[in-house]
């Protein structure tokens, strides 16, 4: 399988189209015949990351790269950045506005969900410098993917 890379723009505070990048990637992976359990993990991580950008990050970019032995997601934004990454990883910690919580988000579970469902999670961020989240998923062929 030759490597394939696709990127999608994410618009901050656009809740009408929020999630479309993750759903499009989910459909693409289905068409490629990727294992359903792996697609589900990638879709959940992508969706949580995409929602984070929409809620916190201003505008951003959502890229998926598909190789024979691994699939990676890179979600970056030009938003305010994360002040304390370790704190942001804590389940239940959230800086989301109340209006986002009323929409069912901002419960402080996004990053922990992304950590649980990915094989590797790397976050680069600093106040005023935006955020880049990279997630790696090993393909089932390598035998080391986590299953639900």
């Amino acid at each position: 399988m030759p490597p394939l890379k696709k990127c999608f723009h994410i618009k901050g505070r656009d809740f009408i189209h929020a999630g479309q990048a993750a759903i499009t990637v989910q459909k693409l992976l289905r068409q490629m015949g990727i294992a359903q359990s792996l697609i589900r993990r990638i879709a959940i991580c992508g969706y949580e990351g995409e929602m984070n950008v929409v809620m916190h990050g201003g505008d951003g970019l959502f890229c998926v790269e598909i190789d024979a032995d691994r699939i990676s997601l890179e979600i970056s934004d030009d938003g305010p950045g994360i002040e304390d990454i370790a704190r942001a990883m804590e389940r239940g910690f959230s800086t989301a506005l109340e209006e986002y919580q009323e929409m069912g988000f901002g419960a402080g579970m996004g990053l922990p969900n992304m950590e649980n469902h990915s094989d590797e999670l790397h976050i680069e961020s600093a106040p005023g410098k935006g955020t880049t989240v990279r997630m790696l998923f090993h393909s089932p062929e390598t035998g080391d993917s986590q299953e639900d």
């Binding site: 999630g19 759903i23 969706y47 069912g104």
Partner: protein, 125 residues
Amino acid sequence: MNRGDRYLMKLSELAETLEAAFICGEDRADIAFHKVGASDLMSDILAALSEDGILLTGLATVQVVNTALISGVQAIVFVRNKTPNPGVIETARQNDMPLLATPLSMFVSCGRLFEKGLTGLNGAR
């Protein structure tokens, strides 16, 4: 219907049990499921083993439909007759996601489905 020791319910039976009406996706009334999640918190649904389950919620935004699609949820039931706007219904229609609305509260809806033998998303009762 029973398969092994778990109860499988069709969407048509769920509609009857919850006095619910189909908003869209009535052509999928024959799909069967055995687990149900009830939440207004989308990350709860994303964190749980939601695949092939049914989602009961009091939120009627497009993000509920997106969350269901991402999680592999089979259908969404809006409690207290919450009605999504036409754009949300269209998104569900395009993605073959059945939507139903029940006049019952979340509590009563869950109680009736539990009584029938359905489980939570993790299979617990």
